[in-house]
Amino acid sequence: MSAGLAIAWAVLGGAFGSHRGRLALSVLAIALGVALGFAVALINEAAIAEFSGGMRSLSGSADLVVRGPRNGFDEALYPRLARDPDIAVASPVVEVDARIAGRDDALRVYGVDAFRAAAVTPALVGTTKDALDLLRPGTVFMSPAAAAWLDVHPGATLRVQSGTHALPLAVAGYVRAESGERFAVMDIAAAQDAFARIGSLSRIDLRLRPGGDAAALRERIVAALPAGLEVATPDDNAALTRRLSRSYRVNLNVLALVALFTGGLLVFSTQALSIVRRRSQFALLRTLGLSRTRLIALLVGEGALVGAAGSLAGLAGGYLLADAVLRVFGADLGAGFFRGVAPDVAFDIRAAAIFAMLGIVAALLGSYLPAREAAAATPAAALKAGDEQHAFARLRSPLPGAVLLTAGAAAAWLPPVGGLPLFGYGAIALLLFGTLLLLPRIAAWVLAAMPRPHAIAPALALEQLRGAPGQAGVSLATTVASVSLMVSMAIMVASFRQSLDDWLLRVLPANVYVRAAAAGDSAYFSVDEQRRLASIDAVARIAFLRTQGIVLEDGQPHVTLLARDLPAADPSAALPLVGTALSLRAGDPPPVYVSEAIVDLYGIRPGARLHLPLDGKQRNFVVAGVWRDYARQQGALVIDRSEYTRITGDATATDAAVWLAPDVTVDEFRRQVDARMPGAARMSIATPGEIRVRSLRIFDRTFAVTYALLAAAIVIGLFGLSSSIGALVLARRREFGMLRHLGLTRRQIAVMLATEGFAVSSIGLAVGLLLGFLMSLILIHVVNRQSFHWGMTLHLPWGSLAALVLALLALALATTVVSARQAMGHDAIRAVKDDW
């Protein structure tokens, strides 16, 4: 064995030999963090790749795409563009999300001109032996994914909904699309007719003549476009889709990194305690001539080995996890952005390298601080008994912690960066690190303030903790980190859930809600159907609503325009306003009420004038108030329905709120609707209670992955708590041996340890609860607001928090008792023979 290897073995061999269990736990913690992060990255990458591939496939060779409101725009634009000398081919498209009969799902149906589409978007053209099928009304071609999903194949009939009517469509074949997108294609004229879109288009795909200048053409087209339309490239559209899901994906990644962080913290506390225990051994090696730098390198190398082993295991585990999730659940991780997308997992070298590096860095950082301290110790002093507390002395200065806390508080006030709450995340990290650095000082303050118990066992426990606040601080680190993360997420989710519940109560004042269809945008109530619904005996009062998607700004996603009856005197009676409504003066334009997301995304404030593209023209409105909306993340606007109908001439409606006549039950109402409305079976009728249950179920599903990732972080944190308590107790078996010699009973030693465990856990819980509360404020008011534009009020889940406190205290006590039994299992005689 070379001298170098011999020294390395002297340093590392002891640790690997005598602390195998705790080292394995560190490796496992890093592996779990890396696995979760890598799996989330792989799943998101796969979903994005599949989605982008699908979009590319559907965009074909289009250079530019003209798009407008979801309900479409005047088709008169098409011939103008088709005649443009710089445009080789213009392909008009109608897009409808048609509700599938018998299901609460919608299928996108594209109406295309097959001859034009063949030259621009061949993926949207059906393949058939009889070319006339491409033009035949009532005939569709399915994408392979849609056919498999609905089990509807050539020769079968696909039933969808238009208005309140059933629309049978004969499946003539498949389209050429190779992606996993689910859709159907039919002739454009047939689609316009079937879905009441006559004279209206959803988009026009443009292919330039060879050598054409896309930028110049784009500029020229934009200048001549009616209001509410925009020109984008297919890449813009793909980027927009990616952007829509970005906040959610980033949040999941951050949560996965939190698991990795708690893993790193566990390595830190394990390494810190292990290094302190071996302090005299290192002092001996230093005395024998081992340099400081070499000792640090060896100890950091020890951490690197843990990190590397954990990272390798984590990458393998992450890949298998991603593969399993994609197979079983698909690529949607809860928020619905990628619902129905089921790609295969692909090993991403870049992501693997990043997460492997993060795993190693987490373990390296966890080892570096204790290693630096061990190397800095004076060998002569470190060789003496009782010098261990010096190892933690460096952690007792409050300055670094205070600086980080101040920086964290300041960062919480900063705006988002590129739509992401990077400073919000930073603020949470700074508060957490600042508190962790202050822990020894906090522990010292609290312990000094505690009265000295009369009984010897708890008195000794208190003395031990007072004498070793640094050690207590290190063992508290994982507890505080996990408790604060747990508490902050619990408060945020409870606040969000309760705010959503309150909001639902507020926005659903009627007895029953009727929608033309449960899904899609192909259904509506005609004026006649509205009259018929209103004339039903069971109805005391009815209010109709029209929704549609419009483009407020080029390059931004559609925002939802809601046209509904608004009481001019008191709009807050119909809308959950945040703040008060602006009083309008004579001569002001009609009012529009914007959701909080519109304020955040477009910077539009009350009092501002807002031009809404309606019926191809910009219409002037004044922003009269801001309202809270949890249903539409990209923003929503409310205008009075009479104003909408006056401007657009569109008197159809998509939803109705119904107040029932006295003593009429919902079942009676349903019976009367069935009897009076021909399309009743295709409508969705729900009570506020049913909508509430459904909404909260969607909420819980959205947060399911969040809970899972958080649970992983918590489990790692609890490993850390158990591990550090166990390590501390086992390290003191010589002390217990001496105390047994002096006449302390086993029970007294158990009481002493239980007191220590209880005191340390209580401090950890108290600090964790307080820090978690502060972090929850940042999650609620900064991270969520900047990520998803949801405002919410604070609600503390007292029951859950109490359960959490009790569970953690029980765990700490159980770990202490188990460790104490182990420690006292050692022979008291042999224990005192060991050197300290």
């Binding site: 002093a381 003496k384 008994a385 003395e463 070793a468 050197d835 300290w836």
Partner: protein
């Protein structure tokens, strides 16, 4: 004060070993007795039997009127708490307690009132030459001072016997001589009986009586 009657002790295991075989020893009150012997001959086992930390396989051990074989674990714990003081080779001073608190530990265990206990601790610290080091932490003390702290702790509750296992093993010759002298002086002052197990003939020479333990038994020795 201490009476061992034909005591035997055997350690089981893959290679069972008899370390004490029919040992008989009587130590009167107030004497300091040293037991010399090679490593592994059973000196510490003998001390552990006297402390009630191990039980004899044969024979009986009676200390300060208590027949240890008849006591259960709790009673043995109480016996050690009240009647025995220990001095270890590795000092075993609690690093997180001040010197005074370390010395006062046995009094706290016995539930003595704080004020008289503090007076007694101060008296013991003065007696071992550490009057001004009561508030110091153990890491600030030299090896000799740590062992003097341990002696003060061993005697502070006025035990009937003090058991010292290689108390000079970690000390230089001058400190060792000082510590044994102090131990002897304090034992006589307090009227306690002492058993000193050591390799050091110099240390043993300060005792009132010396025995040598070997495979053939325990024999009186004159140095």
């Amino acid at each position: 004060m201490i009476h061992l009657d034909r005591v035997s002790k055997r350690f089981p295991g893959p290679r069972p070993r008899t370390v004490l075989d029919g040992i008989t020893l009587a130590i009167p009150r107030g004497l300091l007795v040293a037991i010399l012997g090679e490593s592994g001959v059973g000196k510490s086992t003998l001390l552990n039997l006297i402390a009630g930390l191990e039980r004899a396989d044969a024979g009986s051990v009676t200390v300060a009127g208590s027949e240890l074989d008849r006591l259960d674990d709790d009673a043995l714990t109480r016996f050690r708490r009240e009647k025995v003081g220990f001095v270890f080779q590795a000092f075993h001073v609690l690093p997180y307690l001040s010197v005074a608190r370390n010395v006062g530990l046995p009094l706290a265990l016995l539930g003595h009132d704080r004020a008289p206990a503090e007076d007694r601790v101060q008296a013991m610290l003065a007696a071992v030459g550490l009057a001004d080091r009561g508030e110091s932490m153990p890491r600030e003390l030299s090896g000799g001072e740590l062992q003097r702290t341990a002696i003060a702790r061993a005697l502070v509750h006025r035990p009937a016997i003090v058991l010292a296992d290689e108390p000079t093993g970690n000390l230089d010759p001058d400190s060792a001589a000082g510590v044994i002298g102090l131990l002897r002086e304090r034992l006589h002052e307090e009227g306690a009986t002492g058993v000193l197990v050591t390799h050091s003939r110099a240390a043993a020479a300060r005792a009132d009586r010396v025995y040598t333990l070997s495979a053939s038994g325990l024999d009186p020795t004159s140095l």
